[in-house]
């Protein structure tokens, strides 16, 4: 299930925010700290996840820890769904 979520997220990030070679974006690539996504893009990702994965972020969960990579995002989604 995790790989499915990850590939959906990657597809979204690549088509909206990532201008480099898609193969260079791994599930562990740091998104916020590397500057690949800025704070507004991060909020867009949160909206995308809420709309597509049937989960809701509490206000304090919109933070660096959850948002910094495709992998941490997927973990968050799975943890919320179960």
């Amino acid at each position: 299930m995790k790989t499915e979520i990850e590939s959906k997220l990657k597809e979204y990030i690549v088509s909206n925010f990532f201008s480099g070679d898609p193969n260079s974006l791994t599930t562990d690539t740091e998104l916020l700290t590397s500057g690949i996504i800025d704070s507004i893009s991060a909020l867009e990702i949160v909206d995308f996840i809420e709309e597509n994965f049937n989960v809701e972020f509490e206000a304090h969960e919109v933070d660096k820890e959850n948002l910094n990579s495709i992998s941490t995002l997927s973990d968050f989604i799975i943890q919320k769904q179960t």
Binding site: L43, E58, A59, H60, V62, D63
Partner: protein
């Protein structure tokens, strides 16, 4: 009331047990504790020679202790110089050099980063404020420039030559504004204010001092929290925030990402906005969501603080696309000049302002002072705003645009020339020209550059951003970089900005 300290004392007297400050993580401090702590820190400052006639820098994230520092500096008799802790060190160092503070209160984590720039600040004193250190300039006690004895704050804004300018704000400036705000709004010790603007931004003076004047609770929203509108939404609901002052950009972010409908925001009473034009469409959306609030459009450059205001009527005139900036505040006098420099009864022109909220000038920048702080025949000083406005039928001023090439984006004033000068410092850039245009209701900054002949590969966006960020703060970074074979010129060989706007 003569000094900001009197405002703080007023708040303390209303109800010492009321919460004065709290942060996003729910740390809090009462008025009594605040009074006690600021007295201790004030004594430390005074006993180290910090008081009347000197300036103290503050470089920190917005925290309770940073706020205590600011109040303590004022109580000591000194003026404070807030410096953006997120700005490039080169900019911080420029401001330190220009402001010549006797001492600086710095976030512990930043001390090492700043060390190379703080050579003369060799004396480190313990202050009873976790996470902050006090460093003192031991080399010279002499002020190179005389400080006005009423000086309270110096706020640094962008300069046209690529150099930040320090706007001096006096106690009188703040007190005029706070007294008026207090009459305009229905506020008391039961209100809960939000502090969203950073302390180096002029909007912060409303949050800090109108709340303290009333003995009210002020919620400190730090930079990281302010980038998460959902967190602001949550804080409004949890802490029952009733007074909120922000830029239209932030309010639009609240609309888009704040998930307002998931929270109870019926505590909202007064919403003030300033710093840029709010389009009526977005405004109407937020007004519907915050139906318990009334709304004010405030106007004024940092140099004058708020000088005109417009209370938004319940029924909005559908023919308008933006709101007027309104009528002059009672402490401000205004006049208009047109191109012919005639101040006769014209209805449209550049706005000039005088009055008790107007800054006495820029700190340590006499050349610029002569350009924009202009003495009239009676010896009174008018500030030349550079803003083109017109008077409408009902006597309200309506903002038309900037006279020169300054733009406001997300509430920050940006001098396009400052971005150009940053880009031109790049080893492979021959020349740069920067323009701003409105795109889908937002200001978009495009940077055009021409490479040196010895180099012929377009530069990477990441590299350009990194380069610029050495010289200018993040909010000034261009939205777009375009490499051109040559920068277009007018017949008089000036940069042809008009043709760049069409690209």
């Amino acid at each position: 009331m003569n000094r900001i300290q009197d405002i703080l004392h007023n708040g303390f007297n209303i109800n010492p047990n009321n919460t004065a400050l709290s942060d996003a993580s729910n740390n809090l401090i009462t008025y009594d504790e605040l009074h006690h702590k600021t007295s201790i820190v004030k004594d430390v400052l005074n006993s180290n020679g910090i008081g009347d006639g000197v300036r103290v820098g503050i470089i920190s994230q917005k925290t309770i202790n940073a706020t205590i520092s600011i109040f303590s500096i004022l109580k000591s008799g000194a003026a404070y110089v807030p410096i953006d802790a997120e700005s490039p060190v080169e900019r911080m160092s420029f401001i330190i050099d220009n402001a010549q503070p006797k001492a600086i209160i710095i976030e512990e984590a930043l001390v090492d980063v700043l060390k190379p720039y703080l050579k003369t600040y060799a004396i480190q004193i313990d202050v009873p404020l976790d996470g902050l250190v006090l460093v003192i300039n031991g080399s010279s006690d002499k002020n190179l420039i005389e400080q006005p004895n009423d000086l309270a704050i110096i706020l640094y804004t962008s300069g046209s030559t690529g150099i930040p300018k320090g706007v001096m704000i006096t106690h009188k400036n703040i007190i005029s504004f706070v007294n008026w705000s207090n009459e305009l709004l229905d506020v008391s010790h039961e209100d809960v204010f939000s502090s969203i603007a950073p302390y180096h931004f002029d909007l912060s003076t409303f949050d800090l001092y109108v709340s303290m004047m009333n003995g009210a609770h002020l919620i400190l929203i730090d930079a990281a929290t302010s980038r998460n509108p959902r967190m602001i939404s949550s804080l409004i609901a949890q802490r029952k925030i009733s007074v909120l002052y922000a830029t239209p950009s932030l309010l639009k972010l609240m609309l888009r990402f704040g998930k307002i409908e998931r929270f109870d925001h019926t505590s909202i009473k007064h919403v003030l906005f300033a710093g840029e034009v709010f389009n009526i469409e977005s405004f109407t959306e937020i007004k519907e969501k915050w139906s318990t609030g009334d709304f004010y459009n405030l106007y004024g450059p940092t140099e004058t603080n708020v000088v005109t205001y417009y209370k938004i009527p319940n029924v909005i005139d559908g023919r308008q696309s933006t709101f007027p900036i309104g009528l002059p505040c009672p402490y401000a006098k205004s006049k208009l000049y047109d191109e012919k420099n005639t101040a006769s009864l014209i209805k449209e022109g550049e706005l000039f302002i005088k009055g008790s909220s107007v800054s006495p000038g820029y700190w340590n920048n006499s050349a610029k002072n002569a350009d924009v702080f202009i003495k009239d025949d009676e010896g009174e000083i008018w500030y030349k705003t550079g803003d083109w406005v017109r008077l409408d039928e009902s006597g309200n001023y309506v903002f038309i645009g900037r006279n020169d090439r300054m733009v406001k984006k997300n509430g920050y004033r940006i001098e396009l020339a400052e971005i150009e000068s940053a880009l031109q410092k790049h080893a492979n850039i021959f020349e740069a020209a920067v323009i701003a245009k409105e795109h889908e209701g937002k200001i978009e900054i495009s940077a055009f550059y021409q490479l040196k002949e010895t180099y012929n590969k377009a530069l990477q966006i990441l590299e350009l951003n990194e380069h610029c960020f050495k010289f200018i703060p993040k909010y000034m970074l261009p939205d777009k970089f375009v490499c051109l074979s040559s920068i277009p010129r007018t017949s008089t060989h000036k940069v042809d900005y008009q043709s760049l706007l069409k690209l």
